[in-house]
């Protein structure tokens, strides 16, 4: 084994001048060394001439298509979450106006309140319940977005770790 290692190091040019000279002498004087040397040299030459294996002809197109699909999916996911968040925010803001209008006894606030009661047949208690539900929904939406953001961050951190380490 040591002989083979020396011969391979010699072929790879990894030996010092002195060591290389010693190997050259061995190859010149020892039949077994000479045979192993020529055998490894021939294999080395063949390996250098061998080509890399090729994937299917459509590999590049498929890869780029996959890339673009992933980008679109990520955008769609983010867009859906943002829309959900926006919808719940508007709903909550609307209900907040009504609730505050209940405390604020201005004519305008009362008018809004009466309009909503008239439109929805809800009592004041019902409106307060609706406000509470939408506030909880909004908090849930915020927590959901935070959870998704943390998951994506962890996934990205793992991927970066995988790539760089």
């Amino acid at each position: 084994m040591e002989r083979d290692e020396k011969i391979l190091d010699y072929i790879d040019g990894l030996l010092s001048a002195e060591e290389a000279e010693q190997v050259r002498e061995k190859i010149a004087t020892d039949g077994e060394w000479e045979a192993r040397y020529h055998s490894f040299l021939e294999m080395n030459t063949l390996l250098k001439g061998a080509e890399l294996l090729s994937p299917s002809p459509s590999f590049v197109d498929q890869t780029i298509a996959l890339l673009e699909t992933e980008k679109q999916l990520n955008n769609a996911k983010t867009s859906a979450l943002i829309k959900f968040f926006q919808a719940t925010v508007w709903l909550w803001v609307m209900i907040t106006v009504v609730v505050f209008s209940d405390i604020n006894t201005s004519v305008f606030s009362n008018a809004i309140q009466q309009w909503i009661i008239g439109l929805s047949s809800l009592s004041k208690g019902g409106i307060h319940l609706l406000f509470g539900s939408s506030a909880m929904l909004w908090v849930f939406g915020v927590l959901l977005m935070a959870y998704v953001a943390v998951r994506n961050y962890e996934k990205d951190a793992n991927l970066i770790n995988e790539i760089l380490n």
């Binding site: 084994m1 083979d4 290692e5 391979l8 190091d9 990894l14 055998s39 490894f40 294999m43 063949l46 390996l47 250098k48 001439g49 061998a50 080509e51 890399l52 294996l53 090729s54 994937p55 299917s56 590999f59 590049v60 498929q62 890869t63 780029i64 996959l66 890339l67 673009e68 992933e70 991927l159 970066i160 995988e162 790539i163 760089l164 380490n165």
Partner: protein
Amino acid sequence: MMTEEQLIASVKAGNVHAYRSLVARHQSLVFTMVYRRLNSREDAEEIAQDVFVKAYKYIASFKGDAKFSTWLCSIANNSTSTFLSKRKLVFSELNERHEQQEDHEILSSPEEEQLKLIEKAMLKLPSDDAQIISLFYQGEQSLAEIADILQMETNAVKVKLHRARVKLKTTIEQLTIQK
């Protein structure tokens, strides 16, 4: 024709077309590296595509202090390891790997026959030996670069490469005798 550095800079700026050129340049290296460990064209293509998608996503983290091919091979090595551990497959030394002949036209010249013999012998090697030989010869990676890719010491890579070549030589001799 843009240089690799120019292509990478263009990709970092968001140019997907520039990335297409990079994929075309390095597809064979990544595919070969993954294939040597998995010995399945279908799986190797799937993982290789995943490697390029990850590389695109995290191209900003490539600082240019190593070759782009070395960086890609690192991702490929890690992705392949993750894939194997998820599938919980254990490839035993020689017997479970089956030969998959490439669809070549009929080879007639002695040099081509020799190359066919080399490929046959490579398929009989343990997957990590075949991989390290491919990285050194076809991938033209230095010992230090292979050490980075495989997360080993350079000296350990040197020893592993030597042993792989000795095994390959023995396998070639056995195949020649069988013929």
